[in-house]
Symmetry: C2
Subunit: 211 residues, 2 copies
DNA sequence: AGAGAAATTAACCACTTGGTTAAACCATGT
DNA sequence: ACATGGTTTAACCAAGTGGTTAATTTCTCT
C-alpha cells in the first residue's frame, strides 16, 4: 500500500510544470502525461478530472503565496524586519518558480471563486485579524512619531507590487532592455534589499523624531 | 465598399472583451460571435484564423501599454512630471480596462515571441534610444545633486509595478480585504498621486542640496 | 506458488473545437 | 430587370479534447 506513491508525486510535479506555464485552458492532459512519463489514463486514475488535478496545483500555489505574508504581517517583529522577511521570501520563491505569479493571477481572473475555496478550506489564517494586528502596529509607530501616517493597505500593496511584478514582466523586460537570463536574476536580486529599504524610507517622518 | 465596416468593428470589440477576460486558449470563437451578435463564419470571413484575430487584439493592447511610457520617459519634461504623467496614464487606462494587464502578461508568458513581432512591426520607438535619453537625464540630476544616484531600471520598474500590479491583484485583494468594487476604484485613485510622490521621495538626496 | 487487489496500458468514445463550403442574400450600377 | 460583387447564413467536417473501459501487468500477502 504505497502511501506517498511515486507515480502520484510525478503526476503532481508534471502537472505543476504544465499548468504553471500554460494555465488551465492551455494545458493538455496528454502533455502532462508525457511530462510525467506515464499513460494518460493514469491521470484520471489518480485524480478523477482535469479540474480536480488543477485545483490541487492551484491551492498549493496559493499556499505558497498567502499564508507567509499573513503570518509575517501579524507577527510581533518590528516593521523593518517584516518587510525584509517578506521581500526575501518572495524573491526566493519567484527565483525558483518564475511562472507562479502569472499563473495565479490569470487563474483568479478567469475564475475568482477558486480563491474563496482556498480561504475557507485551507489557510487557518483569518485575514481580517492578522491585518488588524498589523494596522495596530502602524498606529502605534505613528503615535510614537517613528513613522509618518500612512494607509497600511497602500504600504503592503507597494511592497508586494515591487517584489512580484518584475517577475511577471520578465519576458517583456529582458527583451526590451536586451538582458540575459542571468543578468535578470542578478538584477532582481538587487531588489531583494532595495525594495524593503525603499518601503522603510517611504514611511520615515519628515523630520527625525525628538529624542 | 464599406471601409470601416460596422461588422468588423463589432467583431473586434467582441473579440477584445472575450480575449481580455479569457486569454487565447480560454476564448471560444463561438463566444466571440455571440458577443458580436453575428454568425461564427463571419469571424473567419473578416479575420482568417483565431490567431490572426487574436494578434490584432494583442498588438493593440501592447500599443496601449508600451509607446506611452517610452515617449514620456524620452521627453524633455522634468522627472516629477514624467512620473505624474505615467501614473495618471496607467490609472486611467486600467480603470477603464481592468483585464488588460493580466491579459498581456499571460499572453507573453505563453508565447513571448509575440512581443518581438510587435517591437519590429509596430512601435516606431527605439527602446534603447529613448531609455538612453532617460538615463542621461538621471545622470544630470545626480550630478546637480538634485537626486541621489539610482539605477533607472529599478526606478522605472518600481513606478510601473506600483501602478499596474494592484489591478492584477484586484480579484484577490477585494476578497481578502472585503472591499466593494467602488471602494477599490476609490482606493486605486488615491494611488494615482501617491505612487509618483513615493517615487520622487525615493530619489531625494539624503541632505537637501546647497543653494 | 497462487489468489486477490492495486496499478498500468491500449483502445475507444462522445463531444467540442477551429475552420470550411456552398448556397442565399443584398447592395449597386447599367 | 438583372448581372455582379461583396456579405451573411446554415450545415458540415476533420482533428483534438477530456474521459472511460476492459483487459493486462505488477505487487502483496498467506
Amino acid at each position: 500500500m504505497p502511501e506517498t506513491d511515486n507515480t502520484e508525486a510525478r503526476i503532481l510535479e508534471a502537472a505543476k510544470q504544465v499548468f504553471y506555464r500554460k494555465g488551465l485552458d492551455g494545458a493538455r492532459m496528454q502533455e502532462i502525461a508525457d511530462e510525467a512519463g506515464i499513460n494518460k489514463a493514469m491521470l484520471h486514475y489518480y485524480f478523477r478530472t482535469k479540474e480536480k488535478l488543477f485545483d490541487k496545483i492551484f491551492l498549493e500555489a496559493l499556499g505558497k503565496i498567502l499564508p507567509k505574508i499573513a503570518t509575517t504581517l501579524g507577527s510581533d517583529a518590528p516593521l523593518a524586519e517584516k518587510f525584509d522577511v517578506i521581500s526575501g521570501y518572495y524573491h526566493d520563491l519567484l527565483l525558483s518558480t518564475p511562472y507562479l505569479p502569472v499563473f495565479v493571477v490569470q487563474t483568479l481572473q478567469h475564475n475568482p471563486d477558486r480563491l474563496l475555496q482556498f480561504i475557507i478550506t485551507q489557510s487557518g489564517i483569518n485575514p481580517a485579524e492578522t491585518f488588524g494586528k498589523f494596522l495596530m502596529q502602524i498606529q502605534q509607530e505613528v503615535a510614537l512619531g517613528n513613522i509618518r501616517p500612512i494607509d497600511p493597505r497602500h504600504l503592503v500593496l507597494n511592497l508586494i507590487s515591487m517584489c512580484v511584478f518584475p517577475f511577471m514582466m520578465r519576458p517583456m523586460f529582458i527583451r526590451i532592455i536586451g538582458m540575459k537570463d542571468e543578468a535578470f536574476e542578478a538584477f532582481v536580486n538587487e531588489r531583494r534589499h532595495l525594495v524593503p529599504q525603499l518601503i522603510m524610507q517611504s514611511i520615515q517622518p519628515d523630520q527625525p523624531p525628538p529624542d
